[in-house]
Symmetry: C2
Subunit: 674 residues, 2 copies
């Protein structure tokens, strides 16, 4: 053992899929505060075909919080419309029964989209590289082999209680042995849930020369290593849930067809079985095809029966009277529908699992990647604040308490949808018989869509959410009726006081780890409102104020708690030097002061109205680093007592002499006009 | 001579500034048709500070035609507002007199923006690399030394009549000698118009060992080599125009100020002189400062008097009663206001000059880069079509006939604006005295803004524009009253028939060299309109139709003339298989059929109404490769006669046996539903 290289790291991320790269990209943002992160993945090659690719609006909002939608948005294919197809009672073939938008209009500025997982990971990894100033990379072909937690060290902040033994694989070994082709067609079966954990492990048993070994001592480990998660199995957590007898196949390719909705998400119930069309980037289309395969008593499916030819024959039967051909199938796979959830998410708040390692379900609702990324997006700003010394380790409890209820909800929805989708369609004459009612199917799908959009996720069971439950701090929800505490902060357009440009409010607060206190300050033309803001500003400028109290003097003043002011009224009747310096308006900054007013080129955002905030009373909204709403309260002393309580519960208090002080900021005097 | 390396190239671009890189990026799009382009620049280093940076909406539309606005848009700083400041009659300092939007609302989806020239060039060069499949690069440190045109070869299509001798400079020699610093501050004086041509040449006189020489034989040469253009001087073209006595200085830096409009384009007339504020990316601001410097009898200014300190002293006097300081000036320069235009644009349609080589004017209106890029954007698709064999060389006549009138217009506007801007402000009591009336100043600036936005440029004197002038083909302008022939095609939202997504219509026709015939086909629910489209489709499917006639069988059918159909009415009442195959609806394509209907997420584009097209009559619009309108005509036989005439005048006719034929496209039968 003494010959083996040893190293220390703050966070070790195991697995560079969607959950892993989001973890890495978050933690990259803490590099500048000294947080060191490594990311390993056992495979040597990236995903090039197939795999998950559905992005719901919430995931796109999350990308935009990292300022990535310029790039990702220009490549993704929005899925605009869902059309439903059912058997025609006369000719027996399919006919369109209705169409609806895939994304409920108005719910987000983004719509459900599709982009290849490899491209998404590429953009996130590029961002990680940039944000970490080139210091982070993905270490591929590195296999974890052992994991131990030293119980004596788990409560020591500066200790490295997790010991992970890893081995650098040879190029040959790190290529999946189970990967195969059917003729020229890439098969994804080796990654599907038709593979058992044991089969997945066998891939990496060392029958090639042993590569370099290393012991990594980590403060924290994140297992983002997929449905067959090795980390989860080391921790002894179980996946609990049910499989079904339903087996589905998937093909990707460019179709030749006279089916008119080939560029829509088409949900087809036919007499020959069910099928879902997912339009993808370029002219590629994915077909999810229900198969007539049986599952044996051991729960196994004969994978060899699933071939491109068999899948297309089934698809053709479903599409009748329309014709479809895919001259070149570029990828195919199969899977068995089932829903499973891990018994635990974290061990000692030192080792966490995330993504498919925690929850698996059917892929058709396009939730896998979204749910996985949302896990680590929730977790890693918390780890970042703990490691940079600003938050106590107790904040990590909120990972499981926030993400498990979501996963339960997801699995329930998915099971219901999958069951309906795999059932036989019924003619209207058979409506009261056994089977699936098309109306019910569509209603459930519509309801499911609303959940699957991701914008209504609620973290109700958490210390980071002031919703008054279980004795926690309560919000004054009535002051911002459309900003539900515990849900993501919705975004509406505001206008910069400085130059009249319009912005989505959340685009003024890109996710770098900071909390944001948004002061909806009322009408700055009104002297009473100006005085109210002045009073709050004095409290914020104080060395006992919430900013100084939680920000050490070696950190930028707005890097832990940022203040944005959104006033209402008429922009041109207010001057920037009417705003109180320096915390509310730090001189020389142009991204703190906004107004809910009409813009020159994009109309009026009506932010106060859309947030349900009164122009007279105003409101204070605390937005978490992940853009979820932590607290809604009042624009007065009592409200600021709540703000201070909120942060005291969540962040460490900096000792008096070491605080960042507003007194160090040079104020610019108002112009002397007379 | 025989030892000197010789090589052939289709196009040699001299100069890799804005005009040069746009030329390169256009020509990169013709690489796939065998067109070879080289780009040389005498300097070894790129522009890092200072230089032009104003982008008008038309330039942004041009970038978007190359699909670059995702990247450029996310970096550019929109200049949203212009504010006017004038002396207050009581305290003598400045006060705001009014504010207006910098871009007339509704004129374009983009607004005036600012981005550093180096970043813009970077994005365009990246695109050139991608579009040329990695085959093109910018050859830096290469100095042209001789240029000869062989008159005997100028009419031969396949000849290389232009011989350019070039020399690879040493690293030392290719760094501008005149470049200098004032203390730590980068000076741009060596590139300003305070330098004479002779001084610019002296830089490169070889007093270092001679580098590698090469003779480049080119079919075409583009001189995009700036105001001191070496190419222009080789051709013997003169710059004609006037200088003025007005001298201005420029500084870039991050200011500390209580001037409230520091993030607006502020046009300040003060008793101490004039000044313009240009907000730039990040927190950088540029100040254009009128100086109290005199020009001596030889027209020379003592450049040594222009220092950062002197510029800031003048700026501070202008801003009173506001305070301003720029602790670190990052770049400064000076220039003398003048407007000059070249006597000729092209020699034998073989050597062209473009950009600052053709026209110079004052930089304050931010037109330099825009006008330069628009020159080569106009020229290079024409060269591309000539070189790939599809257009006769006569199309190149339209470069000067289209771009010279624009330059004349530009220079006239600029002279008027510059004179007004450099004049002394007058109190209202002095309105009838000598000098400048503030009202007149603001009116001229407002009018100038409308021109400077670039969206109203009209090519009225050109064979590529069917406007009926000088005996040319006439359009039926009344059928599309808001699509002025000879101006850029405005863009409005339409909806894809396939998936209901909304698009800006021009985003369905990214510039790859193709002309687009837009069929505003009327209401596809109406059998009469469907039959009308069917009749046109049959004509388009014919081997004598306009597509086959001008497209050889080795080119994609839609690569020279593309057809887009925009119908009106209700999308959901029409099926894609109602459209005629294969030219109008080539099966397997999803980017040909659109509808002017309401979208799910972005309202109704009202394209017919905004284009001034009747839903009953419809219209045909021919859009040129540079997105200017070539022809507006009727949706009938007479209209298609005009369409055919338009293309016969502009493109070569492919011999009958070599044409791309609609018969080669496999039609997909309609589904058999009964």
């Amino acid at each position: 053992m003494s010959d083996i290289k040893q190293s220390n790291v703050d966070v070790l991320v195991i697995g560079a899929g969607p959950a892993g790269v989001i973890a890495a990209d978050w933690l990259a943002r803490f590099t500048k505060y000294g947080v060191k992160t490594r990311v390993i993945d056992k495979r040597s090659h990236k995903v090039f075909t197939g795999q998950a690719d559905g992005l719901n609006p919430r995931s796109l909002e999350m990308f935009q919080s990292f300022n990535l939608m310029g790039k990702i948005g220009s490549e993704a294919n929005p899925m605009n419309e869902v059309s439903f197809w059912a058997p025609n009672e006369n000719h027996g073939g399919i006919e369109r029964s209705r169409r609806i938008p895939d994304t409920i209009p108005g719910i987000s500025r983004y719509v459900q989209s599709v982009l290849h997982q490899g491209r998404i990971e590429r953009h996130i990894i590029d961002d990680m590289l940039e944000k970490s100033n080139g210091t982070m990379k993905i270490e591929r072909g590195v296999l974890p082999e052992s994991l131990e937690i030293n119980d004596d060290l788990i409560d020591e902040d500066d200790a490295y209680p997790v010991k992970v033994g890893v081995r650098q694989l040879s190029e040959e070994e790190s290529r999946p042995k189970l990967a195969s082709k059917h003729g020229e067609v890439e098969s994804g079966l080796y990654k599907s849930n038709l593979i058992k954990d044991e089969e997945d492990d066998v891939e990496f048993n060392p029958n090639v020369p042993v590569g370099d070994k290393e012991i990594i001592n980590a403060k924290y480990v994140i297992g983002a290593d997929g449905a067959h998660s090795w980390v989860r199995r080391q921790l002894g957590f179980k996946m609990v849930g049910e499989g079904t007898d339903f087996v589905w196949g998937v093909v990707d390719g460019v179709p030749i067809t006279n089916f008119p909705d080939i560029r829509c998400r088409a949900a087809i119930h036919s007499n020959a079985g069910s099928l879902m069309v997912i339009p993808r980037e370029g002219k590629i289309v994915r077909l999810y095809i229900q198969l007539n395969l049986t599952v044996d008593e051991g729960g196994h499916v004969d994978r060899s029966l699933i071939t491109p030819k068999m899948l297309m024959e089934q698809a053709k039967a479903v599409f009748h009277p329309y014709t479809i051909d895919i001259p070149e199938i570029i990828w195919y796979t199969g899977y068995q529908i089932g829903q499973r959830l891990t018994t635990e998410y974290a061990k000692n708040n030192r080792v966490f699992i995330a993504g498919d390692a925690c929850h698996t379900h059917s892929p058709k609702a396009g939730q896998g990647m979204n749910a996985s990324m949302a896990d680590t997006y929730n977790l890693c700003w918390k780890i970042g604040h703990v490691l940079s010394g600003h938050a106590p380790r107790s904040i990590l409890d909120t990972y499981e308490s926030e993400r498990r209820p979501f996963a339960e909800h997801l699995i329930m929805n998915d099971a219901q949808l999958a069951k309906l989708f795999s059932g036989k369609p019924l003619s209207s004459a058979e409506l009261n018989e056994l089977g699936i009612d098309m109306k019910e199917f569509e209603t459930v799908l519509e309801k499911g869509i609303s959940f699957f959009l991701g914008t209504s996720i609620e973290y109700f069971n958490s210390a980071a959410t002031a919703n008054g439950k279980d004795g926690r701090l309560a919000s004054k929800q009535e002051l911002a009726t459309k900003v539900p505490v515990g849900q993501r902060f919705p975004s509406f357009q505001v206008v910069s006081q400085f130059d009249g440009r319009h912005f989505h409010l959340v685009d003024t607060m890109f996710a770098e780890g900071q909390f944001t206190i948004v002061l909806f300050a009322g009408n700055m033309e009104n002297p009473v409102h100006r005085q109210r803001l002045e009073t709050i500003a004095q409290r914020l400028d104080s060395d006992d104020g919430v900013v100084s109290k939680h920000t050490p003097n070696n950190r930028e003043r707005d890097s832990i708690i940022d203040i944005k002011t959104v006033h209402c009224g008429n922009r041109v009747n207010v001057e920037v030097h009417d705003f109180p310096q320096p915390t509310v308006y730090p001189p020389g900054t142009y991204n703190k002061l906004y107004v809910d007013d009409v813009s020159y080129h994009a109309g009026h955002g009506e932010a106060y109205k859309n947030y349900g905030i009164s122009e007279e009373a105003g409101a204070v909204v605390v937005v978490r680093p992940d853009h979820f709403v932590g607290l809604v309260t009042s624009l007065d002393g009592a409200g600021f007592d709540d703000v201070e309580t909120y942060f005291s519960n969540l962040l460490k208090t900096v000792p008096a002499g070491e605080r960042n002080s507003a007194k160090d900021i040079k104020v610019i005097p108002q112009p002397k006009i007379n």
